[in-house]
Symmetry: C2
Subunit: 507 residues, 2 copies
């Protein structure tokens, strides 16, 4: 028998049932095993299906239901599937096999060690943004691009593809400045201070930041403890037009949306690749309408960048890639040997920022000094300060309270300033011996803060009570763990007990 | 405040609720967002949790429930989570944060392009077998090992690690033979014929096969259409002791269990790496107790191995790795320019096998000839036939019906012989022109069979009605698609219509 096929008809309308299952980023849909559609379409479990409402269409993972959670004729949706379809419970959708994902052959090409061209890279990024990639495909792409698997030309292709897959802002100004820190240094939260200083001096700095990738806090996480950061494009523009700057999350304005998807997957893998880092940073900056960017690379034995050679290589990639896409990039290498400020975690870092901006006596001097150096550099880059006069102008702006006033105003326009929250559970680690602080392990300190719940739990993290070379006595506090639940606190304390070399004391 | 921590107590017993959700390989558990445990432990959605019953413990993905699917105090389990915990509905389990997965640092090491030693490889494989890796971690491992990313020493380490992570069979015989085809050639299902011939001649050939990785059928899939292939170790031994051979699935006897997990993940990615292929093949052979293995590498422009150089390289890897682990490997390169037999898909290939074994007039001559060559080679390797006399002995064994009788007996002892099923939906592709068959694209033909539902749908696939260089007339059938549902048939027909160059005709 030869079957009569009619691709136009959609014979199995399904009624949406919102199951209230939070499956995180990856959308999941649920169908009864014995449903007509499963039999007719030959859906195997865990296969991917395309679900279409009148207006929207998503690709989702399929879980098969053997119980009575669903009634006949219903399709269950996880929260991310429900959000993606932009429809309501009780409405009708249709399900079919998704078209083959064409960019997977390019992905396999990369996995087998070949070089991707502009078109292949852009096909992959377009499929990622369209939601065609499963978590497993994303992991494969990230892994295939990790280490030094991308050459300079591929990094340019990736940056351009990520840029073109999203919106671009245009500020109608010749000089729009920005800064970025490649991370790896816990507590290095200079951005809100720098933005406040340079915009108070008249620079245009529409700062959009990312959430944490593998660190306990990103600038967007920290800012979200003090104001709204998920701004609609119109609001963002209004804030910048009014204040000269903003401190927003980049993802909500659809700038380089591929970056946000890749970052979430990288977080689960705790992987960070050089090429993707460059593409991520620069695509966001160009999309945000910047003309000049200062990039801060902290260098230290346990920082993300561990040697001056690695820093030089990364600088070169950043500058060359920027050039190819019309962006002026300057790089500054800073001391990455120990954490900056006291707090590690969104709210704890926010507290340090407020102390600096308000010129409080307990403001961390290292954070203050780094912010002034960066702000001074940007003021010179923007032609607002003469050469070598930037630091002095930045310091004056901070000391007179104009920086705090500007920060407060930006927060107010973004949705209102609020004090960062305080965690309910603390554990203090006291030094068992007297001596001098010899080493601080940034990587394991960051891990400790994450085990305590940062960045998802905004008030969780670690406060470091000592600095390198500081003399201490037995019983002095070394650090404090903050958590929002006893379970998370317990988890972090157990880790600390197994890694007491996290702070080395020379007695 | 400093929290009082008690790691001994498990304050939140949870009652198991089997939700009847089939989440495929990866276990998923469900908890209410407002449950005490979620608040106390600070579980974020999509994080991984450890679930422990009295006897067993698994690591699972956590989905958070916002609706009333669960009652307070309940934990929902997907089917794979339920199976893994080996307990019953209504019983009590406890949930906690899993210990950090130590081998992830070795995995990252590999991702960044470094070499893994024995210990690191074995840590990774042990974690995989223990179920500690999520699908995303598995994808990362597979990708990091793909292409030529593993050196010879790493391939030996991986093979040894996979071998040691499972059971080993010991047949108490000096000479135990086996064969393997590296695949890539649709329909090349010689194994059941070869096993029947050589065991009929007195060789010991306890054949365990894998299911399909990226092809439309593996030998285990094909055999499962005719008899039981999931045999308990005791049954397997009994079959071999009685008949001298078996035709079983390797996974059910816990030989190289890592291989079965990796194969499932590779299937989703449609990735196959040389190093992993070598480790997969040889770890299974050694674990199955083989002393001598013949490996068939089909070479052709659209086969898995495309050139003689690639075949030579792979041969060398197989021989050297085998040597390091005490296994004698011989390699035979065969013609891989076109599919073997008529059927592509489990049941369709089974039909070809039966025709050959029964000496039926419509038996595919190419399949018959290949099987005789391989069987002859093994008979010589085992010292049963003199040099160059193997083929003649194999042919005699087939022609006299002793091979069919042996095959039937093996099936009967494994659980009974049955005829393979027939699919309900067919579509015949007729040639639009007259001419000669110039090219057949193995890769896209395999893809077509998979889109029709193979290997999950056992009777689905493709039957090829023509061979290379055959003369045909307009209207002659070129191939037939078989499917178990109209949806799957439709999907395959759409693909065929977009790839009519799958069979090229010179007119």
């Amino acid at each position: 028998m030869t079957a009569v096929l009619d691709t136009e008809s959609q014979p199995f309308p399904l009624v949406i049932r919102r199951l209230g299952i939070d499956s995180h980023q990856e959308p999941v849909v649920y169908l009864r095993r014995n449903s007509h559609i499963c039999r007719a379409e030959g859906f195997a479990t865990a296969s991917r299906v395309q679900v279409s409402s009148e207006q929207h269409s998503i690709i989702a993972s399929l879980h098969i239901i053997d119980s009575n959670i669903l009634s006949p004729g219903e399709i269950g949706l996880s929260e991310s599937a429900y959000t993606g379809l932009k429809t309501d419970e009780g409405h009708i959708v249709h399900v079919c096999h998704p078209s083959p994902i064409h960019s997977l052959s390019a992905l396999r090409h990369k996995v087998y060690g070949h070089t991707l061209d502009d078109q292949q890279m852009s096909d992959i990024i377009d499929d990622i943004v369209a939601g065609h990639y499963s978590d497993v495909h994303l992991a494969t792409f990230i892994t295939a691009c990790a280490g030094d698997n991308l050459n300079q030309q591929e990094i340019i292709s990736l940056t351009r593809a990520m840029l073109e897959a999203g919106d671009r802002l245009d500020w109608q100004k010749e000089m729009v400045v920005d800064k970025h820190c490649v991370g790896g240094l816990p507590g290095n939260r200079t951005t809100p201070i720098v933005v406040s200083i340079v915009t108070a001096c008249g620079a245009i700095m529409p700062k959009t930041s990312s959430r944490a990738i593998t660190s306990p806090a990103g600038t967007a996480d920290t800012m979200s403890t003090m104001t709204e950061v998920e701004l609609e494009p119109d609001v963002l523009k209004q804030v910048v037009n009014q204040e000269g700057g903003c401190l927003a999350w980049g993802g909500s304005v659809h700038l380089s949306p591929a970056d946000d998807i890749l970052i979430k997957a990288e977080r689960e893998l705790d992987l960070d690749s050089e090429g993707q880092m460059v593409a991520s940073v620069l695509s966001k900056k160009i999309a945000a309408g910047s003309s000049h960017v200062l990039i801060d690379i902290p260098v230290g034995p346990t920082a993300k960048v561990r040697s001056q050679e690695a820093a030089d290589l990364l600088s070169q990639l950043l500058i060359t890639t920027g050039q190819a896409l019309g962006l002026t990039v300057e790089v500054i290498c800073t001391d990455g040997s120990q954490p900056v400020g006291r707090g590690i975690g969104p709210a704890l870092e926010a507290r340090d920022i407020i102390r600096v901006l308000k010129n409080q006596p307990d403001a961390p001097e290292d954070l203050r000094h780094r912010a002034l150096v960066l702000a001074g550099h940007i003021l010179e880059m923007a032609g607002i300060a003469e050469e070598k006069q930037g630091f002095a102008l930045a310091e004056k702006t901070l000391m007179t309270g104009r920086a705090w006033q500007k920060f407060y105003n930006i927060c107010q326009v973004q949705g209102g300033f609020r004090e960062p929250a305080v965690a309910s559970y603390q554990y203090t680690w006291h030094s068992p011996v007297s001596g001098t602080i010899a080493e601080i392990d940034n990587r394991n300190l960051a891990k400790l803060a994450k085990l305590a719940g940062a960045p998802e739990d905004l008030s969780a993290g670690v406060t470091l009570e000592v600095k390198l070379k500081q003399a201490i006595r037995a019983g002095d506090p070394l650090l404090e763990i903050h958590a929002e639940s006893p379970g998370a606190l317990n988890y972090a304390v157990e880790f600390l007990n197994s890694r007491t070399e996290i702070i080395k004391i020379q007695s």
